[in-house]
Amino acid sequence: MAIVVNLDVVLAQRKMSLTELTELVGITMSNLSILKTGKAKAIRFETLEAICLALDCQPGDLLEYRKEK
């Protein structure tokens, strides 16, 4: 997919673990893993809002568009 999720990068910048984010956002570990590994097909605005709030970042920090070759 051309949309890349940079959740791991943002988590590393914030020195936060996935478990901590799970507690803050209220999303299951498996769902966050799907998002982190790029297997997710779509993301709800409310989920994006919760992650942005927890990580104090912009949606653009989490999502990136890479042209497929």
């Binding site: 769902n31 966050l32 799907i34 998002l35 997710a40 097909k41 779509a42 993301i43 709800r44 989920t47």
Partner: protein, 219 residues
């Protein structure tokens, strides 16, 4: 949803019931073949009056006796007398290569039809079983529906081929007589259409599976 699952369970039960009834009926219908032998149903009834005459009665007097008859084009036929409950029947056997080929081909087709029918039943049963558990849009079910569709189309074609072979075989058997075989085999359009419809349903399930995946992978 729970109501739908109950409905699927009812359909599964009906399928099992119909299968058991059909099996009992098939065994009952072919009981003579099972008791008297594999080819007991092959008595050529239209030929009976021709061969029930004094000449054959005198030559083959005991049940099990046989008489070789030379027919047209060098064919040799064997006439066998069998005393059945319903009366005396003279069975006609022909030892020609073409007849044996038709017979073997029919046996192979019959065996294939049996396997395919069993496969259709088992796939339909497991599909209903999984659906009753709530696992409807799965890759397994999509493959099962695809197989059922393919098997239905194959069955319609094989049944037609079997009819043609049966016609050719019987025609070969009565070749030296004055009897004419009637062309009376039809293509099973309903089974063929059912197969095509099942294939379309398979694509619907494929779409359903994609949508479910999309729904499950939406975080």
């Amino acid at each position: 949803m729970r109501k739908d699952l109950k409905f699927i369970r009812i359909i599964r039960g009906i399928l099992l019931l119909i299968s058991v009834v059909l099996l009992i009926w098939a065994v009952y219908d072919h009981r003579s073949a099972m008791i008297k032998g594999w080819y007991a149903d092959e008595e050529l009834k239209p030929l009976q009056p021709r061969f029930q005459n004094a000449l054959f009665g005198a030559v083959i007097s005991k049940p099990g006796d046989s008489l070789n008859i030379k027919g047209k084009d060098g064919y040799v036929f064997k006439l066998e007398k069998s005393d059945l409950v319903t009366g005396t029947v003279y069975n006609l056997h022909q030892e020609s290569t073409l007849y044996s080929i038709y017979k073997t081909a029919m046996l192979v087709i019959g065996f294939t039809l049996f396997i395919i029918s069993f496969k259709v039943f088992s796939k339909l049963y497991y599909f209903l079983d999984d659906s009753a558990k709530g696992e409807i849009f799965t890759l397994k079910n999509i493959n099962r529906i695809k197989d059922i569709g393919f098997f239905c189309i194959s069955l319609s074609i094989l049944l037609w081929v079997g009819d043609v072979l049966a016609f050719l075989r019987t025609q070969e058997l009565v070749r030296f007589t004055d009897y004419q075989m009637e062309y009376n085999f039809d293509f099973n359009y309903i089974l063929f259409a059912a197969g095509m419809v099942t294939m379309v349903i398979m694509y619907v399930f494929k779409k359903g599976y994609d949508l479910q995946q999309e729904h499950e992978l939406t975080i």
